[in-house]
């Protein structure tokens, strides 16, 4: 993290609706995200919470039935000569984004490497494609750079591998290739959409360590979209917790994991057993994620919230400030609200986590 923080991405009051045959679906309801150079932001949430849609908007690859009702996505990038430029991606047309942003300045790593690679093209060609298209790199030079990249992402025998097709590689290898493709044009921002969900634990750990290493070496910013809090704990500097198209809690990694304030974050944290959980039952969030087709007044989380107050059904909670960096959208933080503590199981667990952190020599 640099002293003077350069802002890379600023998503402001983003609001997106999808037109479907069943009626409009209000998928994103006022999302704000800031990302600085060299930092990692994680967006956590269940399926359908809108985390992928937000990032697709930033890439300009929203589905055709989506309309952006309001908001702006300001992306700042550095030209080759060092000058900086800020653009609002939402005001640009698809063609411009394709030429100037996609793959060149913002690159994306998708969940399933088998579907994101072209099965009829050698992996060498796929890595070189972006460089040749965006920068008109001579073929020989692109080839050499592709070999370099393969070595960088930890693939042995890089020259030989260049001529392989995706099906000749294992799942973990394929995801490494996808990362190499994403890095080919030296992007300022890397978006990883569930990059390890389709992979085994052992390989997952390797891929995450790889992304982290590359980030440290190149100083790029990374956005992680995931539902796995273990992954978040490993990589993120800042965490945004999304629910039903809204960010319900945001803060630094320590604030979210050691001092969560929103009942939904409590639920998420306690639903995933850590290795020391010996409680007989897991604390669960009752019910299931809401159907955004039927918009309800008040807090969207209220029906599943065992700490819901009367006002939750009438009025949507604003973002309450906890610290300079920590915000949560729950009426529990209002000064008029009754004092509610996080569930005892979670409290004990956080104490354990702190204890363990102390043993590891990084006390809070």
């Amino acid at each position: 993290m640099s002293e003077t923080k350069e802002k890379i991405l600023k998503i402001k009051d983003l609001d997106i609706t999808f037109k479907t045959t069943a009626g409009p679906v209000h998928a994103i309801r006022g999302v704000n995200i800031d990302l600085y150079k060299g930092e990692t932001v994680a967006i956590v949430g269940e399926s359908g919470s809108g985390k992928s849609v937000t990032m697709k908007a930033a890439m300009g690859i929203l589905a055709s039935n989506a309309t952006v009702d309001s908001g702006s996505i300001e992306f700042t990038y550095t030209h080759a000569d060092g000058s900086r430029e800020t653009v609002d991606i939402l005001t640009k047309d698809k063609k411009w984004i394709r030429k100037h942003i996609n793959g060149k300045r913002i690159a994306m790593v998708f969940q399933d490497p088998m579907t994101s690679l072209d099965p009829t093209m050698t992996i060498g060609k796929q890595i070189m494609e972006g460089m040749i298209w965006h920068f008109k790199t001579p073929k020989k030079e692109a080839w050499d750079k592709a070999v370099e990249l393969l070595k960088e992402v930890g693939i042995s025998d890089a020259e030989k591998r260049m001529k392989n097709y995706p099906h000749q590689l294992s799942g973990g290898m394929r995801q490494r290739v996808v990362i190499a493709i994403a890095l080919a044009c030296n992007p300022d921002l890397l978006i990883c959409d569930e990059p390890t969900t389709a992979l085994d634990v052992t390989i997952q750990a390797k891929i995450i360590e790889l992304i982290k290493r590359i980030q440290d070496e190149r100083g790029i910013s990374v956005i992680y979209i995931t539902h796995d809090l273990g992954v978040v704990a490993k990589v993120a500097d800042y965490v945004n917790v999304m629910y039903a198209g809204k960010i319900v809690e945001k803060g630094t990694i320590d604030e979210i994991f050691y001092d969560p304030r929103h009942p939904y974050t409590w639920g998420l944290l306690s639903a995933m057993p850590d290795l020391n959980t010996d409680d007989r039952r897991l604390y669960t969030i009752p019910g299931s994620p809401p159907n955004l087709l039927h918009e309800k007044t008040g807090d969207a989380f209220a029906p599943r919230n065992r700490y819901a107050l009367e006002i939750d059904d009438k009025l949507e909670p604003p973002m309450f400030q906890v610290t300079d960096t920590h915000y949560a959208a729950t009426w529990l933080l209002d000064e008029r609200a009754p004092k509610v503590e996080m569930p005892a199981e979670l409290k004990a667990r956080i104490e354990r986590m702190k204890e363990e952190a102390k043993k590891n020599g990084s006390e809070l």
Partner: protein
């Protein structure tokens, strides 16, 4: 729930081999000489990476495959060879399976009532229509669904509810053993916990046993009494959950455990996972024997390997 390890095991698997002949020169040894027991009321977790043979074991045990070699005893019956009609009948009612993807494992053209009732119909487990309806209603209530859900189709449910239907379908036959093959992997985090709690409650109530197959180690640790670690079709290490997690011996187990991401940022940020590569490790899974580490804990390897691993600290 305390499991009585002196009781007769509900399932005994001895030297199970499951080979798939791909061509005349190439045979895949998906499961190679695996032995384990499951006791009544116990949850046995099978873990390993994809391709380690954990799902194949589940499918061989419930006889979706014909085992190449080995013995499987279930509830006092030998179910490894050709099944007699009575054996088949007993196996099909007393052992049930829950699959990974509830959308793919429930017939989209059948109502929940008929999905659940199918087993009852086949085995003639009711006398009147009303009795069938009562059984279905009771089972729905047990898995936390409402009676009116019986008239719905699978697509009208959310993912978590669908998996509850999958569990209800397994439970309706009053099984003694349920094979749960990655049954929570396709669910959202908050829903996973609900389903796991439900499975635990049902076990408490009915005393059935689970063979829990998963790759999410933190969930396996939470639900299982004992664990078996599989790699490339070989059972490398088995023991109670505490024994395995407190004192993993085999390098593969150690690498697996070191890879589990923990939701504790301060610890997680400084941790490096261990690498294990069978090809370069110098370990041969075909030589060696099981060595007891005390209690239920057993590790597979040669004498020298075991001595070396136990001297290294994890």
């Amino acid at each position: 729930m305390a499991v009585n390890y002196n009781a007769e095991p509900i399932l005994t698997v001895k030297g199970l081999k499951q080979y798939f002949k791909v061509s005349s020169t190439f045979t895949v040894k998906a499961v190679d000489d695996v032995s384990f027991d499951i006791y009544p009321g116990e949850t046995y977790g099978l873990v390993g990476e994809s391709g380690s043979g954990k799902s194949t074991i589940g499918r061989s045990v419930i006889r979706l495959y014909d085992p190449t070699a080995g013995e499987i005893h279930f509830n006092g019956r030998d179910i490894s060879g050709k099944l007699s009609k009575a054996d088949n009948q007993a196996l099909r009612t007393q052992m049930q399976m829950i699959f990974q993807d509830p959308m793919a494992s429930l017939n989209p053209r059948k109502k929940v009532r008929d999905i659940l009732g199918e087993g009852l119909d086949i085995h003639h487990l009711y006398k009147t229509k009303e009795e069938r309806e009562t059984i279905i209603k009771n089972i729905l209530a047990k898995v936390g669904l409402a009676p009116e859900h019986a008239a719905r189709y699978p697509h009208q449910f959310s993912g978590g509810q669908r998996q509850r239907v999958g569990i209800a379908r397994a439970l309706i036959m009053n099984p003694k053993l349920i094979i749960a093959d990655e049954c929570i992997s396709a669910l959202d985090v908050s829903i996973q916990a609900q389903v796991v709690n439900l499975m635990k409650d049902i076990q408490e109530e009915t005393g059935l046993a689970y063979l829990f197959i998963a790759h999410d180690l933190s969930m396996v640790k939470y639900i299982s009494d004992r664990i078996g670690v599989l790699h490339l079709g070989h059972l490398l290490e088995t023991g109670t959950t505490d024994e395995i997690f407190a004192n993993p011996v085999h390098p593969y187990t150690r690498s697996l455990l070191s890879a589990i991401p923990e939701p504790n940022p301060r610890v997680e940020k400084n941790r490096k996972s261990m690498t294990y590569d069978y090809a370069t490790s110098g370990i041969d899974y075909n030589v060696g024997s099981y060595h007891s580490m005390g209690g239920q804990h057993q590790v597979f390897g040669t004498d020298e390997e075991i001595a070396k691993w136990t001297s290294e600290k994890f």
